[in-house]
């Protein structure tokens, strides 16, 4: 088994901030917009370095999405920053018409996604955003797993022409992917090679999947672990190649099981190679207040839940 080392816990939103700071130096057409959450989104450096390219829109997310769409006309590459809830559900129609249908080159960057937002509770813990965004034609949907990958993804999406939804989170989590990695949109990353079960994880659940694979390994089960940072377009080839080898799959995400990664993988399998699948995700429920760890435990989104699902799905082969 490959060993993955946590180089020190960091939040993925800081990876976004660092990527944006980098883009400020390298991409003169990158502009940033924020709806009164500059500090939470870690956009302070970009704002300080490029005040003329930073737009504080206040608590008015619908207007922010429209302004972002307009900024593309004239060649700007707008990055919007607010919480995932306010980046998607609150402004769905603005994104649908002014950005997606109009095919505008806007990067919708969303922090505090999912349960790990923690104590603020369900009003802010969106678990439906991946579904909302992946249903929009032409929208690329990315959910990164750690600081380094979020920084790399932030930089990569600036060079991709078209609307992108980039989802990341609030808490400090393990930082284990390589520094200064190249990030290829739509290309899954193979983390472990195994023959007994495939684990496909996205976002904060990738580290949990690696921990689950270690536990499984101790029990004599070899898991193929895939980091599927891009949910749309989905790397079908990587998924099909893996399940051909293992014959069963667990998907893991910090999202509702309706509309998330699990359903996207299930579609690929149903159409190409029907395979037993277990879905580690929330079960059509809202979240609640609590610490991130407590919530992930209560809603079954951790290494233990992935391990249990893997052992179960293997019996269904």
């Amino acid at each position: 088994m490959k060993k993955y080392i946590d180089s020190g816990k960091k939040d993925t939103r800081s990876g976004f901030g660092a990527g944006l700071t980098e883009l400020g130096k390298t991409h003169p057409n990158v502009v940033a917009l924020c709806a009164d959450l500059t500090g939470s989104l870690k956009m302070d450096d970009f704002k300080a370095n490029h005040p003329e390219r930073f737009f504080q829109v206040g608590i008015a997310e619908a207007n922010m999405m429209g302004i972002a769409a307009g900024l593309t006309i004239g060649g700007k590459i707008p990055f919007t920053g607010t919480f995932a809830n306010f980046s998607t559900g609150r402004v769905y129609d603005q994104i649908r018409q002014s950005i997606a249908y109009s095919h505008k080159n806007v990067k919708i960057c969303a922090s505090h996604a999912g349960l790990t937002l923690g104590e603020d509770g369900a009003t802010h813990q969106i678990l439906e955003d991946i579904g909302l965004m992946k249903m929009l034609p032409g929208m690329t949907v990315i959910n990164t797993c750690d600081y380094n990958q979020t920084k790399a993804a932030t930089i990569a999406i600036a060079d991709h022409h078209g609307p992108v939804y980039l989802r990341f989170g609030r808490p400090k989590v393990a930082n284990f992917t390589p520094e200064n990695q190249s990030f290829e949109i739509g290309k899954a990353v193979q983390l472990q090679e195994g023959n007994d079960v495939t684990i496909i994880a996205t976002g904060h659940l990738v580290w949990e999947a690696l921990k689950a694979a270690e536990t499984l390994n101790e029990q004599g089960v070899s898991a193929d672990v895939i980091n599927i940072h891009t949910i749309k377009p989905l790397d079908s080839q990587a998924i099909l190649k893996s399940v051909k080898k293992t014959g069963c799959v667990v998907t893991a995400e910090e999202h509702n099981y309706l509309g998330g990664l699990g359903e996207s993988v299930a579609r690929v399998l149903a159409q190409n190679n029907p395979t037993p699948q277990e879905i580690v995700a929330t079960q059509d429920t809202f979240g609640e207040s609590g610490t991130p760890e407590q919530l992930m435990e209560k809603y079954g989104l951790n290494a233990a839940a992935i391990t249990k699902a893997a052992l179960k799905v293997m019996t269904r082969k």
Binding site: V31, E52, R53, F55, V57, G58, A60, A62, N63, M64, M65, G66, I67, A68, A69, G70, L71, T72, I73, G74, G75, K76, P78, D93, Q94, R96, Q97, S98, Y101, S102, H103, K104
Partner: protein, 281 residues
């Protein structure tokens, strides 16, 4: 000096285009389209500094966004007759595989369209973004947008109106089609807009009214004044008093023709009130 005879002929011809487009497919929105005909002709023929051809980025030229996308028939007719695409294409309005969708879209690549609109309330925000982009590009040209008065019931507009004043977006002219009508009735009956001029002014805009919104010369004169107000630290709002359905007697002063096409007989009467000038498509 503008050729007023030609422009007046064009107004009549655009009215014929609007009526014939919606009649052919028995759908679409003639009322607001007819009411804004003079404004569109003035804007595209006289007021905007436009480049030949179409480039999405619109650098070095004035650009326009239609927020109330349902009045696409007037937009399409004036775009076609301003050289953006062949006038014959007006024949395809709302048909399958057409670039002239029910509501305007960039999706089919129709020259002249820079944003999809139809779901209301989004145009001012988009125009603000484009205005920011122009300033960042050191482009001194203007951004125009038109929205409906009923459309101002959408909350996003007021986010945008607050933002534009607060951020001194002064290369922007927002025109409101102030016809007092919407689908369900008069704006006063559906949801009163109150003192619109006072509201824009309270938000920090420079507001002008054009009382004769269906008079070509009045529009041209007053809009030139509006242009002269740009660049002074305030966004500019023009309240354009129009008559929905203008130019067809039985369609005027009512909301009935907001989204209804004339039948064969009604079309004949409507066209007889607007006899051919430049030639039908």
């Amino acid at each position: 000096m503008p050729d007023m005879q030609h422009l007046n002929d064009l107004v009549i011809q655009v009215r014929r285009d609007i009526l014939r487009q919606v009649h052919k497919v028995n759908s679409g929105h003639p009322g607001g389209s007819l009411g804004c005909t003079e404004f569109f002709v003035a804007l595209f023929q006289e007021l905007m500094d436009r480049k030949e051809g179409f480039n999405m980025d619109g650098k070095g030229e004035d650009i326009f966004f239609l927020s109330n996308g349902h009045i696409s028939p007037v937009f399409y007719s004036v775009l076609a007759r301003s050289g953006y695409f062949p006038v014959e294409e007006l024949n395809t309005f709302r048909l399958l595989n057409s670039r002239l969708q029910g509501h305007p879209t960039t999706h089919e690549g129709l020259p002249g369209i820079r944003i999809a609109s139809g779901s209301l309330g989004q145009g001012i925000s988009v125009a603000i973004g484009a205005a920011h982009s122009k300033k960042l590009n050191n482009d001194s040209h203007l951004v125009y947008t038109l929205c409906g008065d009923g459309e101002l019931q959408e909350g996003q507009n007021w986010e945008a109106i607050m933002y534009a004043a607060g951020n001194k977006v002064d290369n922007l002219i927002v025109t409101v089609d102030y016809n007092g009508q919407q689908i369900d009735g008069s704006t006063d009956n559906v949801l009163p807009l109150g003192n619109l001029k006072g509201k824009f002014e309270a938000f920090g805009w420079d507001v002008m009214e054009i009382e004769q919104g269906n008079n070509l010369e009045a529009i041209m004169n007053r809009m030139k004044t509006a242009k002269s107000k740009t660049g002074n630290g305030k966004p500019v709002c023009v309240l354009l008093h129009t008559v929905m359905g203008h130019g067809v007697d039985f369609m005027m002063h009512t909301h009935d023709w907001h989204g209804k096409a004339p039948n064969d007989e009604q079309l004949e009467i409507a066209l007889s009130q607007n006899p051919v000038t430049l030639g039908d498509y």
